[in-house]
Symmetry: C2
């Protein structure tokens, strides 16, 4: 049987899994050691690559941690849309002296193999993104002693998460950096992403399972806020992306507080699915035309993003970031957890003192 | 000299001004009598129409209240864009058996005349939308004993508000129903609206003046949340739109919780400026093509919206609503204030009891 979420780690702080090499074992270890919940991101990795990271993390901490898994996506792009986008990106490939990736290099992200590893060698927490696992998968994980979390971006999705039997739901607000975990990518719904504070209240009333709030949270006062709104914990990505332990590219870390980058946007430019990133040249030029075709577009742009990073060109990289990016602090991850807890406790004290008329 | 915001009304609850006949004197009176801050909306009214409402309100309550004023907008639409949109709307006019409005029927919303009235007959609070008044205007109002508030949708805008000398800033999150109060309507920035919880934290750190949080707030727990994040009060629109005292059309009130309307969107379809509305036929058909041309488009569509309302056709009306619309409660406005305060106090008590590790 899985434990209750709140028994797993002392502070209501979850480090968001950030795929693409950001949530490395040393980051997850630092957060878990400090009393938060560290997370590994299995997305884009092989099952064995994921397993190696889990072993590494177990060597660094004996505290609970989580592993995030992507749900395979149905094919949805209109025939030809990916080809048209590839044509549009040809100039980028020439500029960075590389080739575009093969859009058809796999679409299930090794889901079954990863689940097999996670059932053979159970971890304390597993979270899912981009959809809801089957009831069978969630049951198996629970029987293995794993606490399960599934991301939702609306009250309807949260109901589906609860009905499938997950232990808790992550309410991901539109503020969040990186990929929105929307269960089905419906382009007509672009622009209807829900702000975190509204979403937490809506989901809190829609389901009975605990809610973890994610999206734009950078300060302990905001953690206090989501707890007030009914969440059991807060999940922070961008705040941890800036720490020295994170595996993010140095240019990505610097970009968070670089005044050159004034805003973020949900864009399909990098992966074919909406993801929040700092608006750079790549987003401006290709965002308006990128098709709804995940993971094909992700495969397509992978060499471009790597080449841009190698060339030190932040304007061609995927600078995923939440809306609070300018509030990022370059503190060690464990110290950041401490600071957040201090801020949270200060607000709790102040708020309770305000009881009754101000 | 103006009083501090927190001395003006006992509960940290502001009823958002909703133009177009929603924020009528009886609604503002009910909220102010219950210990919140009621608001009149001067937008779209003549200066005299505004003055008549103020007199009416003063007859209903002796408690403090506010009046909201729209800042005149610079001309910005590309030549011809309004004509093209008028052409697109011709079928609507035929369908509803009416004419389109004259797009050039005034663009300053009687700003100077309204200010003259508000300086001659000072009211406790004046708030501004769509920009920042001059320092001179804000100084005059302060000398008249009026507390001034100005809406901001980003930290940069909040700094401009503080620099102009306003007494407080309204942080309007992307969740908010109706018009975003963005100071300058820049279509390239569409899609970068900031979630309330991130915005409050950003603005809290950017300025020293008090912050009023607006956008998607429907429950006392969410008021507790924005207070935790550093706001001094919460402003609620949609929550009060559903009350019997509100002047909203019955179909508009019903639409808030009608399962037919599953989502909201920021759209220029009705006014030429982004406003959050329930997605109905009009938004779906015309939103994608509506130009950035406020107030021309507002004048243009005015007869259509009136005719649709008269015909009882919610699919042609401007059903402005925040993202929390489905949480609307059909309580009398004064009772709603009481319920919100009860919820707020319950959360304050619970949150302070959670101090330290959970």
């Amino acid at each position: 049987m899985s434990s209750a979420l709140t028994d797993l780690f002392p502070h209501p702080i979850v480090q968001a899994p950030m795929a693409g090499g950001v949530s490395v074992p040393r980051l997850a270890a630092a957060v878990s050691e400090a009393g938060g919940l560290g997370f590994l991101a299995a997305g884009y990795k092989t099952a064995d690559g994921m397993y190696q990271e889990i072993k590494q993390l177990r060597g660094l901490t004996s505290r609970p941690f989580g592993v995030n898994v992507f749900i395979p996506q149905p094919e949805q792009s209109e025939s030809g849309a990916v080809e048209v986008y590839a044509h549009q990106l040809a100039g980028e490939a020439a500029w960075y002296e590389t080739e575009l990736g093969d859009p058809d290099s796999g679409r299930d992200d090794g889901y079954d193999a990863k689940l097999a590893v996670l059932l053979d060698n159970p971890v304390p927490v597993v979270s899912f993104h981009f959809g809801v696992p089957s009831r069978e998968v969630l049951d198996k994980l629970r029987r293995a002693g794993t606490f399960t979390l599934v991301t939702a971006t609306s009250a309807e999705e949260a109901r589906a998460v609860e009905q499938a039997g997950a232990d808790a739901v992550i309410a991901q607000g539109v503020e969040a950096g990186g990929h929105q975990g929307t269960h089905r990518d419906v382009p007509e719904n672009d622009g209807s992403g829900t702000g975190l504070l509204s979403l937490v209240a809506q989901i809190r009333e829609a389901v009975g399972i605990p809610v973890v709030a994610a999206g734009g949270i950078m300060r302990g006062s905001q953690i206090a806020a989501v707890l007030a709104a009914g969440a059991s914990a807060a999940q922070l990505g961008t705040a941890f992306l800036a720490t020295p332990e994170s595996g993010a590219h140095a240019l990505h870390k610097q970009a968070l507080t670089n005044p050159l980058f004034t805003r973020t946007e949900l864009t399909r430019a990098f992966s074919g699915r909406p993801a929040r990133a700092l608006v750079n040249r790549f987003v401006r030029e290709h965002g308006p035309y990128a098709p709804a075709a995940y993971p094909e577009v992700n495969h397509l742009t992978s060499p471009l993003r790597k080449a841009a990073a190698k060339a030190g060109d932040a304007q061609g990289m995927s600078l995923f970031a939440g809306q609070g990016h300018r509030m990022a602090r370059e503190l060690p991850a464990g110290r950041l957890v401490e600071v957040l807890v201090g801020e949270l406790d200060a607000v709790r004290t102040a708020l309770s003192a305000q009881g009754g008329p101000r």
